[in-house]
């Protein structure tokens, strides 16, 4: 048993813009038509089977990066900013090679730099001038060193002299103090000596007096 409306109705069932009224009518038909309902169930089951698809991982590929970098001239990963300056060492090498091959001479004078190629014609003259300048410079330096040395010597001598004078004065003061101390000590000794002498004289006089008294006593006795 089939239904003449099956195809039309089920096509509409999967439509996205089915009006609510039409969907209601469709629902009523499906509820009453066993064939259409069974057909719909089997189609939904088929669609459900399709939706069981499990996404598979993408195999490794370069994602078009090589093309992208080539066309955008983008640096390779990790190259950084140095890529733009890779010509620099090569250019420096060529410059050095040119200096050697063409015998490049760069001379610094009073009027700035001068660059010449090949053997220099006035090289000897320049060397002589350079030696003269060096000699004058050396002489000037020696003179300055000598002047500085003289000044240093004078300052040193002055310092030594001042030190010596100071030491001499201190020594004289010390000698004077010593002599003064000795003089005072001698005066004291002399005073003691006089005193002892006076005392000795006094004893002598007293002894003489005693002797005189004894003599006179003896005379009287006689």
């Amino acid at each position: 048993m089939s239904c003449p409306k099956t195809q039309f109705l089920l096509q509409e069932y999967f439509s996205d813009d089915l009006a609510p009224l039409a969907r209601e009518e469709l629902g009523k038909h499906l509820a009453n038509c066993e064939y259409c309902n069974a057909e719909l169930e089997s189609l939904l089951l088929t669609q459900s089977t399709l939706r069981h698809w499990q996404d598979q991982r993408v195999p490794h590929w370069d994602r078009g990066l090589n093309l992208f970098r080539r066309e955008h001239r983008a640096p390779a990963a990790g190259a950084g900013l140095w890529v733009g300056w890779q010509w620099l060492p090569t250019a420096a090498s060529f410059a050095m090679l040119a200096v050697l091959l063409f015998n490049l001479t760069i001379v610094s004078g009073e009027h700035g730099f001068s660059i010449s190629f090949g053997p220099a014609a006035d090289l000897q003259a320049q060397l002589t001038t350079f030696q003269q300048l060096q000699r004058e410079e050396m002489q000037s330096l020696v003179t300055r060193v000598e002047d500085r040395q003289d000044n240093s010597n004078v300052q040193l001598l002055q310092a030594v002299l001042e030190q010596t004078q100071q030491s001499t004065a201190e020594n004289l003061d010390r000698i004077y103090a010593y002599f003064e101390q000795k003089r005072i000590q001698d005066l004291q000794d002399m005073r003691v000596g006089y005193q002892q002498l006076v005392d000795s004289d006094y004893e002598t006089i007293r002894s003489l007096n005693q002797l005189a008294q004894f003599v006179s006593y003896q005379s009287e006795i006689r």
Binding site: Q11, F14, D16, L45, L50, W53, Q56, P59, R63, R69
Partner: protein, 193 residues
């Protein structure tokens, strides 16, 4: 930032020469495009070719993307067109139901061997995908594309009709016819097994 705005930002950066932005943009969609290719072509090698053609097309036409539509819609339209072109060139799959199980076996092996490199992919998932591919291969390309767009990409019949330059009713009819064929194939498969 929403996914759409993020897409636009990545596109702008890629157009300014950012390889990083381009790679990120590709990473966002390569899985969907590759799996779409698997379902449409039935084997990993052709799916890979299709995916690379799609992204080459995206790269060549990126400056033409105006942002009027979603980037995802735009890229799936390119994928659809590339799949049609590929079918024309290589006659990817026969419109007739398979008479030889040998060809189908080759395709299963192709997908299964691809998936077997991934330890997390379980065998039943691979078998499920193989069964779906077998069913889809029984459809002619125009019906397979409609099933892909309606069932897997969830496009409306209006969008499908616009993409394929057909009427809405034709799109509905093709989808219904495709589902009926798939149902019959599925029932036959169950009966035989």
């Amino acid at each position: 930032m929403s996914l759409i705005n993020e897409d636009e930002a990545l596109i702008a950066a890629a157009l300014n020469g950012s390889a990083y932005a381009w790679e990120k943009l590709v990473k966002r969609y390569e899985g969907k495009i590759y799996n779409q290719g698997l379902r449409l072509t039935g084997n990993a090698s052709d799916a890979m070719d299709l995916m690379q053609e799609v992204f080459l097309g995206v790269y060549r036409n990126l400056h033409r993307f105006r942002g009027d539509a979603k980037f995802s819609s735009w890229i799936f339209r390119i994928a659809h067109n590339k799949a049609v072109d590929m079918k024309r060139r290589k006659r990817l799959m026969s419109a007739q139901p398979r008479s030889s199980d040998q060809d189908a076996g080759d395709d299963f092996d192709n997908i299964a061997s691809e998936a077997s490199y991934e330890p997390e992919v379980r065998l039943d998932e691979v078998q499920q995908n193989s069964q779906i591919v077998t069913m889809l291969k029984m459809l002619p390309m125009e019906q397979r594309l409609i099933v892909e767009l309606k069932t897997f990409q969830s496009l409306t019949f209006e969008e499908i009709a616009d993409m394929q330059d057909i009427s809405v009713n034709t799109a509905k009819t093709r989808f219904y016819t495709a589902l009926k064929k798939l149902k019959s194939a599925s029932e036959e498969d169950h009966v035989l097994s």
